[in-house]
Amino acid sequence: MATLHTRTTARFMLSPAVLLLLVWMIVPLGMTLYFSFLRYNLLMPGMEAFAGIENYQFFLTDPAFMDALVNTLLLVGGVLLITVVGGVFLALLIDQPFWGQGIVRLLVISPFFVMPTVSALVWKNMFMHPVNGLFAWVARGFGLAPIDWLASVPLLSIVIIVAWGWLPFATLIILTALQSLDQEQKEAAEMDGAGALSIFAYITLPHLARALTVVVLIETIFLLSVFAEILVTTNGGPGTASTNIPYLIYAQALLQYDIGGASAGGVVAIVLANIVAVFLIRMIGKNLEA
């Protein structure tokens, strides 16, 4: 890319891809923005009219909105906590040499390949079901009353289901980071008198900082839009107990046929996601600098 000529050529060659991506992004965004200012209900076709900020007012003052916002943050935070702590622990375990390491690693990673709807249904019917579920059977084995997980602690249940799916991802990334840790550093720390816990706190954990940042950032992006697990298990209920923002928008659009309100919700979701992103980058982004 040394000369002006090659730079111009490079830009020219890049432009189709860049333009395509731009259009791909700008058209849906523009239409969402446009719809969000319309009174647009699928039950009343042909009655679209400019509504000003009415849709936003409606969405933001909806009592379900605050619940959904809190639920979204709890869902993201809960899953991050479980996957990061559990991922570090699992990665430390399977980094040890033991017999059958290969097959164990494969098994640990496999949940990531199970699609969300399937895993949620398996959890719903085979683990958390109050009559047929494994948890209920275990509870009865101890003489306790079975818990109806999805009815009594719906959000926690969904956090557990989603965390199960994301734990392998965190484990995998942390495991590769662990394996890149210089063994001589650990040996030096050992000679310097550091015990296993000190080595973990002073050597291993700082070394993992960058991998953990990547895990937190990538997971946050996907966890803000968790939808399938909620749809096939609780349908956001009971009430709004397990409704998050994506599910609320879905309900607005396809259960109440209110495209305008749902579009306003979509724009709000974009803004919220960006606020979360700014906070995250402020907090942990410096770990990514070389």
Binding site: E187, A189, E190, D192, G193, Y202, P206, H207, A209
Partner: protein, 337 residues
């Protein structure tokens, strides 16, 4: 205090015996160099002493007390690694302070000791930097600083200079030797470079395939190598080792003569005669690679001003008192005294 004794120490990885059995005495305050070709077990031996590897059998005693099963941190040894093994996320100050912090010393003591070590090693201006911002030589000094502050019974160096460029290596070699003079602590130093071994050691341990070939002072090894391996390994350029009829004439299976001891003449007369192949002029010396008839290539070292060119005929004479004679088993044949 830092006297270390190895008593019939062996080490096997699985069924592979890396160290078939080593006995060694290291006196307090000695500078001992383990030298040998790569894969000879010298680093493994150092790691056994450090406690980073478990011995398969035998005993390691430090100051008379058995340390064979003692954890590395409790052996009061400090190690400088080949990769330096600095903690990349900590400042130089925290790197040097780490062993003191782990030992639970109070902040004021740590500060005093770290600053003391930094002064000795010229690191005072770099204490707030990260290892990534330092040059190779500075990193090396931080690694040494981290070892010094512990005030260990002995220092262990694992090829510490192999990552430095040639000029810096000579400098650091001097600095480590000076450090040994001022601290008077036992040092065990592993290297594959016989020049480092010769220049720094009080005592050299030559290792080959996990066995000790010879132990002695640099000049002892140079003047009286115990066997063919040591003779070929110590000294630069390498000793000429000759077999066959020329050796039999001196009553040995192999004879050795150092290039610097060969007498070279351009006029007629001498024990061997040959044609000069490559001539290497170093200024102070000239190395002649001579193809001797019936013997093969022989290297000779002569003064820098000698005018000998490619293709000249020269005569070489080994002075008998400088000749090393080895039996068929490779061991040196000593004159019956």
């Amino acid at each position: 205090m830092g006297a270390i004794t190895l008593d019939k120490v062996t080490k096997a990885f699985g069924t592979m015996a890396v160290i078939p059995g080593v006995d060694l005495e290291i006196a307090d305050g000695e500078f001992v160099v383990f030298v040998g070709p790569s894969g000879c077990g010298k680093s493994t031996l150092l790691r056994l002493i450090a406690g980073l590897e478990d011995v398969t059998s035998g005993a390691i005693r430090i100051d008379g007390s058995d340390a064979t099963r003692v954890a590395p941190a409790r052996r009061r040894l400090a190690m400088v690694f080949q990769s330096y093994a600095l903690y990349p996320h900590m400042s130089v100050y925290n790197n040097i302070a780490f062993p003191l912090k782990m030992a639970g010393q109070d902040k004021a003591t740590i500060r005093r000791k770290v600053e003391g070590a930094a002064r000795i090693l010229n690191l005072t201006d770099y204490l707030e930097r990260r290892p990534g911002q330092l040059s190779g030589g500075q990193r090396q000094r931080v690694a040494i600083g981290r070892a010094i502050v512990r005030e260990p019974a002995a220092f262990l160096f694992d090829e510490p200079l192999s990552n430095l460029d040639a000029a810096l290596r000579v400098n650091m070699r001097l600095e480590i030797s000076e450090l040994h003079q001022s601290l008077k602590t036992t040092m065990i130093y592993v290297t594959h470079d016989q020049v480092e071994a010769m220049t720094m050691a009080d005592k050299i341990v030559v290792l080959n395939a996990g066995r000790i070939e010879q132990v002695g002072s640099p000049l002892e090894l140079y003047n009286r190598p115990a066997n063919v391996f040591v003779a070929g390994f110590i000294g630069s350029p390498k000793m000429n080792l000759l077999e066959g009829a020329a050796a039999e004439r001196h009553g040995a299976a192999t004879i050795g003569i150092r290039p610097e001891h060969l007498e070279v003449s351009t006029g007629a007369g001498g024990e061997w005669s040959g044609v000069v192949g490559v001539v290497e002029h170093l200024g102070s010396d000239t190395f002649l690679h001579v193809q001797v008839e019936g013997l093969g290539p022989v290297t000779a070292r002569v003064g820098g001003e000698l005018d000998i060119r490619h293709g000249s005929r020269v005569w070489l004479t080994p002075p008998p008192e400088r000749l090393h004679r080895f039996g068929a088993d490779g061991q040196a044949i000593r004159q019956a005294a």
